[in-house]
Amino acid sequence: MIHDRPAGTGVIVVTLLIAALLEVVPLPESVNWVRPEWMLLVLVYWVLELPSRIGVLWGFFVGLYHDVLVGTTLGQWGLAYALGAFVMLAAYKRMRVFTSLQQCAVVFLLVGTVSLLAFLVQESVGRTLYPPYTILYASLTSAVLWRPVCALLRWVQLRFLVR
């Protein structure tokens, strides 16, 4: 079997940047509570699709970018995203045979865990105000939006021949 040459790294980066844009687009204060973790969703998609290319280090650097974007402690999201990518690398074969509902459940748990890690770091530097269960709102919307995001990125992947 001939292995496909990797292609479309630029497309992956662009999808991540669009996700970054969605993370900082100004929204009413109440909507901020349920703003999904766009960058994590996009990252998870690419990890699941291209586990041989997109992995832990991608997660780390995307997380680092997220840190600078939202002004958190450097490495807070880097650590969290790297771990998230690691978990997805361990589970990508199972994720492929899961039904949509099961996938959403996994994404819910993953986003919750990753956000909790970031929350712990933020808590330790004293920049949290609300109790940790508040991250559940964003995890829930992330899980709900997982299938639409998936479908959109699948279209992008086929359209721009990312492999």
Binding site: H3, L17, A20, L21, E23, V24, V25, P26, L27, E29, N32, W33, R35, L50, P51, S52, G55, V56, L57, G59, F60, G63, L64, Y65, V68, L69, V70, G71, T72, T73, L74, G75, Q76, G78, L79, A82, L83, A85, F86, L89, V121, Q122, V125, G126, R127, T128, L129, Y130, T134
Partner: protein, 284 residues
């Protein structure tokens, strides 16, 4: 598709890197270069996110009628006239103030340099009260600079990136500053609550002379904020028998959640207490 190479090592590398970076970022200034380099890549995202607001403003400017523009022009001219008249008196007062301060042998308050910036982003995290402005180190923005709007102090620059900067608002829960009551000079610590319209005074004795409606101005103690800018007005004073301190709530005078343009004030590096000049001492 091939299975990935053992990702455990990479995870270890990432974890170590992340933890080292967190410690460096919290305890030392050495992580600043990383932030600076990534700042070139994050600033365009903030500018892009602000674009719809910008173009909306541009559109509404373009489509305004001549009449409304003339009305606005007239209003602004009136306002300018009033402000100019106030400034005339200010010049005399300032000169007098400098003379009196010279008599008292204390350092003069000079006019600070001012830089205008536009707010291009608001922190999406409800836990933090921060803004992103469209001026960075390229425009000589420095960490620790005070930020104000037309009504009063808004906050300070906590991270000066290459093209944009982050501003920590006075309303952030981790922010506190020294203020005094404009009426009588009583000093207190003003802390944020994490709500965009809520501030509180800490450790104020029950007997302190602070009333509802009092204006709180910055004292300049702490060398971070310039002296004498309005920060907040007291909205509620509650005395509770048994509690050691009075509960005092205040609202920022600046429109923290609605401002679109802000002023950055160059902090004059003058010591509050004049340092005696050894040579002058030798001469006399």
């Amino acid at each position: 598709m091939t299975a990935p190479a053992n990702p455990t090592y990479r995870l270890l590398i990432a974890l170590v890197l992340a933890i080292v970076m967190m410690v460096l970022d919290q305890r030392t200034p050495w992580a600043a270069p990383v932030r600076h380099v990534l700042g070139y890549l994050t600033a365009p995202i903030h500018y892009l996110a602000h674009l719809p607001v910008d173009s909306g403003e541009w559109l509404s400017e373009q489509t305004q009628t001549r009449g409304s523009l003339m009305d606005e022009n007239r209003r602004l001219q009136r306002q300018a006239l009033i402000l100019e008249q106030k400034v005339q008196r200010l010049a005399v007062l300032e000169a007098e103030n400098v003379r009196l301060r010279e008599l008292l042998n204390s350092s003069a308050d000079l006019d600070a340099n001012v830089l205008v910036a536009e707010i291009i982003g608001v922190d999406p995290d409800p836990n933090r009260q921060e803004l992103v402005i469209n001026k960075g180190r390229g425009d000589k923005v420095l960490r620790g600079q005070a930020v104000l709007d037309a009504q009063g102090l808004i906050g300070q620059v906590v991270d000066a990136g290459p093209l944009s900067s982050r501003v920590l608002l006075v309303t952030d829960a981790s922010h506190a500053m020294s203020v005094q009551v404009n009426r009588n000079g009583v000093r207190a610590i003003l802390a944020g609550t994490g709500q965009s319209d809520g501030l509180k005074l800490l450790y104020v004795p029950d007997t302190a002379d602070i009333n509802e409606g009092d204006l709180l101005v910055s004292t300049g103690l702490g060398q971070r904020y310039p002296r004498g800018y309005p920060v907040a007005t007291v909205t509620a004073v509650r005395h509770q028998s048994g509690a050691p301190f009075a509960e005092i709530a205040a609202r920022p005078t600046a429109r923290v959640d609605r401002a679109s343009h802000v002023l950055l004030v160059q902090s004059t590096d003058k010591p509050l207490i004049p340092v005696p000049d050894p040579e002058a001492a030798n001469d006399s």
